[in-house]
């Protein structure tokens, strides 16, 4: 128990392959389970990571596999911050891209950013045409809620 909830940091870069969406998800999930959090929070973080990495591959790199996606994550005082970054085509209109049901692909629902926003406490998107996109996802995982602990 003494090891629980201590600060942690990871960084990984990987090829823009669809198979690596699962890799990123498992990586972040393994980091998140190290702290006292709920199954719901874990599931929500997994969806948000999946969306951010899928966007980098599908939109940023237009499904071109020979590119690099960067993922960085840290947990500081029970607060998770994930940064997913690509050097792809960038998003022309971030505000529009974040609108529900906006999608440039016919078989997609435009829910990527909607899920990121609903499942994380804070989502920031920095994008520049021709340079790439950086998505910052933040979520408080551990409530310092001494009340809850006292109650148990």
């Amino acid at each position: 128990m003494a090891m629980k909830n201590r600060d942690n940091y990871i960084k990984l870069e990987f090829s823009s392959l669809p198979e690596n969406v699962a890799l990123a998800r498992v990586l972040i999930a393994s980091l998140v389970v190290q702290v006292d959090t709920t199954i719901t929070d874990l599931e929500e973080v997994k969806v948000a990571v999946s969306e951010a990495v899928s966007n980098a591959i599908i939109h940023g790199y237009q499904n071109e596999p020979n590119n690099i996606v960067n993922i960085e994550a840290k947990i500081v005082a029970g607060e998770l911050e994930i940064v997913v970054e690509d050097s792809g085509i960038g998003i022309e209109d971030v505000e529009k891209a974040m609108t529900p049901t906006f999608s440039t692909h016919p078989d997609r629902m435009g829910l990527g950013f909607v899920f990121m926003k609903s499942f994380m406490d804070n989502v920031e998107v920095l994008s520049e045409i021709g340079k790439g996109t950086k998505v910052v996802l933040q979520k408080k995982l551990v409530n310092d809620g001494s009340c809850a602990r006292v109650a148990t």
Partner: protein, 112 residues
Amino acid sequence: MVIVKIKNESLIVKISGDLDLVIAKDFRETVDKILVDRPLKNLILDLTEVNFIDSSGLGAILGRYKLIQQQGGKMSIWGAKPSVHRILDLSGILKIIPVFKNEKNIIEKREA
């Protein structure tokens, strides 16, 4: 993994694992290849073994729904785990595609 079987006029598709970008593609291609040659009345999606779904998976489901509907067929979902069911619900898909508890119920209802 995507496994399909055809029973009477129903195409039953069982998906296992995480329904993300990779399996969504497999699911889309498998179903489209069958339906292009042989339009069927029902597309039953068995999600019992699906542990995770994201918007790539949801997009593939919605796309197959549109396809079977264009062909005059219907789509149903069977056996989504609570975490998967929650995402389906949040996406709004449950408003257009019914979810059943088991395969037998769907076939009875669809073929009645």
